[in-house]
């Protein structure tokens, strides 16, 4: 058994190492056929694809003649790419100069339009801006006369700028700007995927086995050995504070660095993960018909991690049916609703949608692009819009009333699902101090306010067309929220910091949906954790293993019930309590808070005379 366990550990570590290796194992070929196949999807007609491919080819030639021809690994390749793109874009710019509204034109127009008495935009300005180039003048008159300062009112010059800039791609779409390439993550990512030459690409099946396959097999071996090795069914917390992985030791820090790196790459430099994404291309094609992007890879890793750690939960908590059932349900919701169903929807040309993802956690549900997408996707799109709205407004609070916020946070939510499975070794890392609780209440409700304000502004902009509300630009608020809260807080810190801050950092300090659910749970719900009279011996297991940092013991030792907005009802406190003092239950609201104190049950009652 010990051999099986150690072997399993070794096998899965090998799998992880090989997985990491695939980040670096590709080389890159920028030859003619690869370039044509990436840029020119329509080989029969001469269209923009040809133009781009030709220009790119010559840019590559220019680059390689000036620099070394060596971009054979992911690092040098991605160093070279932005420079090649720059050369390509410069070529395109020349094209634009002649035929489209160039950057120079735009700059001149802006300079002229920025009058001392407000925005000045008219035919006169146009002619001056494009130096009377009749082709360009016609283009602008046809498409932007509605923006003349005689006809449209601008709050300030910045508004004119942003309206004009948003119209520009339409203008230039036939003329050149569509030929330009951006050096953003998405473009670089696709370039990396197309031009990679690797074992992963040519032998995907083998490499999938060597990476995901080995990790899965190893983890299953490890956990099945533990069925015997961990002893009879019961709480298995021996050695948690002796092990470097679980007591914030060096192994934990290594895990943190690894997790944080993956998130940083996913969000900010996905091009470096292109070769890894190739591993799951076949699966993506099977589901949605499309090749995989970095978020499909993320979703796949997420599901695999949750599955393997759920198996670990089954072994560890097999004596506790609440844990077993809850783990199964949350795993199901993740795999079915967050991963498979959205991909199938895309296969049928319907919007990519996770039916259990509720606003404000799904913070871009009411963003313009999403609303437009749903409104233009037939009856399914309308249904999704309707569903998303009633989910947040009706279903969520009603379910919290009956069951507490646990119905979502530890039975349905994907973030919660990963926390409960992958994060199970780290429950004890949450900070239980009063200081942390005070900080928590400020920050989580702050994020809720941020999300609400942003959505109100978003809807205002959507319905009125005004880009800013009270001098604040809606889009920059959205971008800020998306970066700070959506990416860094919920992703990088939320999951990356499991081994040090605990497995519910996002849920406890940042999730606006949790704040909303928590308010309902605290003030209007049938859920509570009942304390069993006077049985508490103040051992502290409950507080230690509360992932949300609730000082459960403080309530239990007074005989008080736990009614806290942050409680996600994972049930672990009740599981680790050695005297059976805690029970998660739903019941009539009367006396929900339990013993008002100060005398704990067992003393044959006396009137406390003050």
């Amino acid at each position: 058994m010990k051999i099986l366990q150690k072997l399993g550990l070794v096998v899965s570590i090998i799998g992880i190492i090989l997985f990491t290796v695939t980040i670096f194992s590709s080389s890159y070929e920028l030859n003619k056929s690869a370039i044509i196949s990436h840029f020119d999807s329509d080989l029969d007609n001469i269209d923009s694809g040809d133009t781009i491919a030709n220009s790119f080819m010559s840019a590559v030639e220019t680059y390689t003649s000036l620099n070394s021809k060596d971009f054979h690994n992911v690092y040098t390749f991605n160093n070279a790419l932005p420079k090649i793109i720059e050369i390509h874009n410069a070529t395109i710019s020349n094209l634009l100069e002649a035929e489209g509204i160039s950057n120079k034109n735009v700059a001149t127009i802006f300079e002229l339009a920025n009058g001392t008495e407000g925005v000045q935009y008219s035919e006169e300005i146009i002619r001056a801006g494009v130096q009377n180039n009749e082709v360009k003048v016609k283009l602008l008159l046809d498409n932007t006369s509605w923006m003349f300062s005689g006809q449209k009112v601008y709050a300030n010059f910045t508004e004119f700028e942003s309206v004009f800039n948003r119209k520009l791609p339409d203008l230039n779409s036939n003329v050149g700007s569509v030929y330009k390439l951006h050096s953003d993550g998405a473009t670089l990512f696709h370039l990396n995927k197309s031009f990679a030459v690797s074992g992963v690409k040519s032998n995907t099946g083998l490499w999938f086995f060597l990476t995901f396959g080995l990790v899965i097999i190893g983890a299953l071996m490890y956990n099945s050995a533990n069925i015997k090795l961990l002893g009879p069914a019961g709480i298995k917390n021996d050695g948690i504070y002796h092990s470097s992985l679980t007591k914030r030791g060096w192994v934990a820090w290594i895990v943190l660095v690894y997790l944080v790196s993956i998130y940083l790459f996913l969000y900010f430099a996905p091009q470096y993960l292109a070769n890894v994404v190739l591993l799951v291309d076949p699966i993506s094609v099977l589901l949605s018909g499309n090749p995989a992007g970095q978020w499909f890879l993320y979703g796949f890793i997420y599901c695999v991690a949750m599955f393997l750690m759920a198996v670990r939960m089954y072994v560890k908590y097999r004596h506790n049916r609440y844990q077993v059932i809850r783990t199964t349900v949350v795993l199901f919701f993740q795999i079915a609703f967050a991963f498979i169903i959205p991909e199938i929807l895309v296969r049928f040309n319907m919007p990519y949608y996770d039916f259990k993802n509720a606003w404000p956690l799904d913070y871009d549900f009411f963003f313009e692009w999403n609303l437009n997408d749903l409104l233009s996707s037939g009856s399914m799109g309308l249904f999704m819009l309707f569903w998303g709205t009633i989910l947040t407004l009706i279903i969520v609070p009603v379910m919290v009333y009956f069951y507490g916020k646990r119905w979502y946070c530890s039975w349905v939510c994907g973030c919660g699902g990963l926390a409960e499975t992958l994060g199970d070794p780290y429950r004890q890392n949450s900070n239980k101090s009063m200081k942390a609780w005070k900080f928590e209440r400020w920050i989580i409700h702050g994020v809720l306010v941020f999300a609400i304000v942003m959505t109100v502004m978003t809807l205002y902009t959507f319905f009125t067309g005004a880009n800013s509300v009270l001098w604040i630009d809606t889009y920059s608020i959205q971008r800020t929220y998306g970066l700070l809260i959506g990416s860094i807080f919920s992703g990088v810190i939320g999951t990356g910091f499991y081994p040090i801050f605990g497995n519910r950092t996002w849920c406890r300090f940042g999730c606006p949906l949790a704040a909303y659910l928590g308010l309902v749970q605290r003030f209007k719900s049938r859920f509570r954790i009942t304390t069993n009279g006077g049985q508490c011996i103040s051992c502290g297991n409950c507080s230690t293993y509360c992932e949300q940092g609730i000082d459960v013991r403080a309530y239990a030792q007074k005989g008080q019930n736990i009614v806290r907005s942050s409680c996600v009802g994972c049930g672990v406190c009740a599981a680790v309590c050695p005297r059976g003092v805690l029970k998660l239950e739903n019941g009539p609201e009367a006396n929900r808070f339990g013993n008002e104190g100060p005398i704990v049950l067992g003393n044959d009652g006396f009137e406390v005379v003050k």
């Binding site: 002796h242 049916r321 101090s433 049985q535 103040s538 005297r579 067992g602 005379v609």
Partner: protein, 445 residues
């Protein structure tokens, strides 16, 4: 302001301090020679096994004491001068008091075995014992534990968690024989043995044998059996920690002698918790109670007296709990090891798992008297009320579903339990459907 000095920062001392502060502005000082802050003694085993760190077993954050104006002193009391109302300290200056509360707890029993002071032999009670144990387990392969009771079983669990083999010596012919009736004792005994604990009942320790370095290397029983070991857990019970009072005027016997108001023979000196010995047991209990819960109850009660509302110790129906490896035990009311002739008993056990319940009621009146439960959690508040109301055993049986405190989705056995009960007693009790337990409390059964 009156100055209350409390010796001992365990559950008793801290509870009386907290409640005095809730009800008055008196000056409060807690002295301890063991630790700077109150910690849960019951959790020492979890620190050893790696479930928690020492700081996690402190029930209050360190700022709590200053915030509540409860002073703490980490020092050892060497002499109590009740004439001048002052304490002589080991390190610091004398401390004066207006009222003194002794909450000094217990010490592990040592019955004079040869070699009992060898390196590697120790009790398990204090924080210092925990630190000593961490030292003693280094290079240890086998442990012999003396005394088959609660601390003994916890010591065994701790040793097994480090891969150290265990032999448990118990003088009686049952495990925890003072408390457990035969049926559940047998179940537990088998269960403990299945954890690879060598349980030797009816075995008496004779001596501890030393190696050449003054460390224990084996023990010998009275029948001459020699068992190799590097650790000897001396856990044959605890006694009140009162040696330091021998030189004082305070009357002691097994413990510090008190009346039902916790008063000692000296005015303004009180005693509570493990160290206190009542003239007579209160409410049918023993006169020496060495239990976490009773310490807390005594603290709550004495605080009232100190603050002007004189109350006698008046605990409610007896309750207790423990855990044997993975089996949780709870008891409500009286279930004695030896049946008394006016009692009727019903014992139910799961066919294969260590899950069992033992019911006791009055033969003549059917009044419910007590219950032992293993592996099934039961609601304290309901049983407390039922015992106070002196309800019939029928009420207990028919309300078993509502009395269950296990987590949701857990398997329940009430049908089986009541089936066996009806067969044994020839009654026809029906299981009532599960209802909201608070309704049962408020309406009456």
């Amino acid at each position: 302001m009156e100055k209350i000095v409390i010796i001992g920062n365990g559950i008793s001392g801290v509870t009386v301090a907290r409640h005095i502060r809730k009800n008055s502005d008196k000056e409060i000082l807690i002295i301890s020679g063991e630790t700077e802050h109150f910690f849960s003694r019951t959790a020492l085993m979890y620190v050893f096994m790696g479930h928690m760190r020492y700081r996690d077993i402190k029930p209050y954050e360190d700022y709590f004491w200053k915030k509540n104006r409860i002073d703490l002193k980490f020092d050892l009391v060497e002499f109590v001068d009740t004439d001048s109302k002052s304490l002589t300290m080991k390190r610091g200056n004398n401390i004066n008091y207006d009222k003194l509360i002794l909450a000094v707890g217990s010490k592990s029993n040592k019955f004079g075995w040869p070699g009992q002071d060898l390196k590697g032999a120790q009790g398990l009670y204090s924080y210092q014992d925990l630190q000593l144990l961490e030292e003693n387990v280094k290079d240890a392969k086998h442990a012999v534990i003396v005394g088959g009771g609660l601390i003994g079983i916890e010591f065994a669990e701790m040793m097994l968690s480090r891969g150290i083999g265990v032999t448990l010596l118990e003088i009686g012919d049952k495990f925890w024989g003072n408390i457990l009736p035969d049926e559940e004792e047998l179940m537990l005994r088998k269960y403990i043995e299945s954890h690879h604990v060598s349980l030797k009942l009816g075995t008496v320790l004779d001596e501890l044998i030393s190696d050449e370095n003054g460390r224990v290397k084996a023990i010998k029983t009275k029948t001459g059996e020699v068992i190799e070991c590097q650790i000897v857990g001396l856990t044959p019970g605890v006694s009140p920690n009162i040696d330091f009072l021998k030189s004082s005027n305070i009357e002691t016997e097994k413990g510090i002698k008190i009346n039902k108001y916790f008063e000692t023979n000296i005015k303004d000196v009180y005693a509570i918790g493990d160290c206190a010995q009542f003239d007579e047991g209160v409410n049918g209990r023993k006169n020496l109670e060495q239990v976490w819960y009773t310490g807390r109850i005594m603290g709550e009660t004495l605080a009232q007296t100190i603050c002007g509302n004189q109350l006698a110790y008046n605990p409610g129906p007896w309750f207790n709990s423990a855990k044997f490896f993975d089996v949780e035990y709870q008891t409500y009311g009286w279930v004695f090891a030896n049946r008394r002739d006016f009692e009727d008993h019903y014992y139910w056990q799961h066919p294969s798992k260590p899950i069992a319940m033992h019911f006791v009621w009055n033969k003549r009146t059917d009044e419910f008297m007590g219950i032992n439960t293993f592996g099934v959690r039961l609601r304290h508040e309901l049983f407390d009320k039922w015992l106070i109301d002196k309800v019939s055993i029928d009420v207990i049986m028919s309300n078993l579903r509502t009395a269950n405190f296990d987590p949701e989705f857990f398997k329940v056995y009430e049908k089986d339990i009541i089936h066996g009960f009806n067969i044994q007693t020839d009654k026809k009790i029906k299981l009532k459907p599960k209802s909201w337990w608070l309704n049962l409390l408020n309406k009456g059964a």
